[in-house]
């Protein structure tokens, strides 16, 4: 059974490296790390608010969807909350699978769906102070491409 680990933490993610994948079952490991961009010097920091309890459930649920859809060995998802500085990791999603195509697709799927379905909200600190980040249409579109069976991403 595909292991699914999820975590929410207010500590830097950098130190959390998994030892998964060394047992000879997983030929492919795809890891995505999202980091705070400075947006050409406009952004000094981010603050991540979340819905404690639902965040973990929502992460676990999208992991369950991924493991129904692709042959995977393990999934780890960790998201940081609280104040995060430029260059630090906000989120890390790692997928282990026998073969690379399933690992690439599942990792991209998890990130697209995370951005549209998991209750996390970003606030940016700029020279004008803190303000909420608006949801982007292209993130909704990226998630939607996994829903249409005939679409590119869904194959």
């Amino acid at each position: 059974m595909t292991r699914i680990d999820v975590a929410i933490t207010a500590e830097p993610l950098e130190s959390r490296l998994s030892s998964e994948g060394r047992d000879g079952r997983s030929g492919a490991e795809v890891r995505f790390s999202g980091r705070v961009r400075d947006e050409a010097g406009q952004v000094r920091a981010l603050f991540l608010e979340h819905y404690p309890g639902m965040t973990e459930r929502a992460l676990r649920r999208i992991g369950e969807h991924a493991r129904e859809r692709w042959p995977l060995n393990a999934i780890e998802m960790i998201h940081r909350v609280g104040e995060i500085r430029v260059g630090e990791e906000i989120v890390r999603v790692v997928v282990w699978a026998g073969h690379r195509q399933a690992a690439f697709e599942a990792c991209a799927f998890l990130m697209d769906v995370l951005k549209s379905q998991v209750p996390l909200w970003k606030k940016e600190l700029t020279d004008d102070g803190w303000h909420w980040v608006e949801a982007r249409e292209r993130d909704a579109e990226a998630a939607a491409r996994w829903m249409a069976p005939s679409s590119e991403g869904a194959r």
Binding site: G34, E49, Y51, R57, P119, W121, W132, A135
Partner: protein
């Protein structure tokens, strides 16, 4: 009793993290609950008007405006999510 919780910009606009309310029995959906809240709590009405794109979760599961709400539920209202 229904617990209504707010997050992010919507929470700041409402000025409260949560409300415990007991709407009349005619309030059976998320949409009806929002209308009832807006009428009864002007700050909530203004916050909802200022947040036309919203998401909702019932008992920590994403739901829709037409989804049913019942006594004992926790209903979360929030702007579109922006994690990742």
């Amino acid at each position: 009793m229904i617990e209504v919780v707010f997050f992010a910009a919507l929470r700041e606009r409402v000025g409260e993290d949560s409300l415990r309310v007991t709407p009349p029995e005619t309030v059976t959906t998320v949409a009806a609950l929002c209308d009832w809240l807006a009428e009864r709590y002007p700050a909530v009405g203004r916050a909802l008007d200022a947040t036309p794109r919203r998401m909702v979760a019932i008992n920590e599961q994403l739901a829709e405006p037409h989804s049913a709400v019942a006594d004992g539920d926790t209903v979360a209202l929030f702007p579109p999510v922006t994690g990742g």
